[in-house]
Symmetry: C2
Subunit: 211 residues, 2 copies
């Protein structure tokens, strides 16, 4: 499977491209700045500069010929930062439109736990949740993409356990490496199309939990 990862230089993104390569997928790391390329070329991974502030038509050219796109870019969710609107919301939606322009049907969004439920947004990163909510809603209702939305809990740098829970009743934490592994599993499991999957650290092996 030929996968384009948007936000490959992020903390989930760099784990994801490594895991995809290890699994034998063909992966291109979408990066923001040319100086981010060497980290990937050192691992034998191709890169492409992908500007989320650009136009969908420009982005679409870069996605031509891929089987799937994963969006795991993030502005960082800082408060008082226009990038939340421009990257996490409009940048994400433009990348969906780019996938449609390029004819790439499969689109996996790395979102955030409870992004779909305004009543559960924490006050501190509420603007980030607003952006994720409207981006996810666009993906569900305004595209014809074969999407999957992943909603991980609070991201940690813990060692991966290879096990998660997809019970969304309570908040929770999850290692970034396990989120990356879940994204890999989702890409290879068509039953996850049109699904929103909450996830936190748990005790079910990832591939089984995803199925």
């Amino acid at each position: 499977m030929k996968v384009f990862v948007i936000g490959a230089h992020g903390n989930v993104g760099r784990l994801l491209v490594q895991q995809l390569k290890e699994k034998g997928d063909e992966v291109v790391a979408g990066i923001r700045k040319p100086e981010q390329a060497h980290e990937f070329s050192d691992m034998g991974i191709e890169t492409a500069e992908f500007d989320l502030l650009g136009r969908p038509e420009e982005m679409g050219v870069l996605l031509d010929g891929f089987d799937a796109v994963v969006f795991t870019a993030g502005s960082g969710g800082k408060t008082g930062d226009d990038m939340t609107l421009l990257i996490d919301l409009d940048g994400a939606v433009k990348s969906m439109q780019a996938a449609e322009i390029a004819g790439v049907k499969r689109y996996v969004m790395v979102s955030a736990m409870h992004a779909e439920n305004r009543n559960r947004w924490g006050d501190q990163i509420r603007p980030y949740y607003v952006a994720k909510f409207y981006a996810d809603e666009w993906l569900r209702h305004r595209t014809t993409l074969d999407y999957t939305i992943l909603e991980p809990g609070a991201l940690t740098f813990d060692e991966p356990t290879g096990q998660i829970s997809t019970d969304d009743l309570e908040g929770g934490r999850i290692a970034r490496a396990d989120v990356a592994a879940a994204a890999v599993a989702v890409l290879h499991e068509p039953a996850t199309i049109k699904r929103t999957i909450p996830m936190k650290a748990g005790d079910t092996p990832i591939e089984a939990a995803i199925r």
Copy 2:
């Protein structure tokens, strides 16, 4: 007609409530802070505190029994201000949901010229346009409201002329008092339901232009 104006203390809002009252409509001025009330009570206009950071269910209680809602609130569109996301986007959408909860079908949104066309957003207030775009799109596609979206050009404090153009081919300027007059005309013209109407200063009398 009983009209609730969200953002009544704003520069368009305060002109709108005055004009509605002069036309014989029953109007309630939705304000953000209690200290904004006296300006309206001095004119014999009822006020209600309407918190766009609150929940749709709370807002809905205030809209109960009205024939129409006009949204003309704005965070000011300052860059680097989370209020763009929280007010112009999510606040606006929550007010639509509140109208639906209250059974108020008619909803008039004061948006901005070219808000529907990403290629024409100015760089300086691009975050504001992002917020308006997704709010307007929600109104069009995710509600069952009888909406009208007004897209005025750059707002001025010029004397009103009572005349506008609804040609959207070029940008333009328009007096806030003429935008308010257009909103009044739209509320009384059912043919404007489900329409997006660009407007700038021009030479067609407002009621004729709206028809």
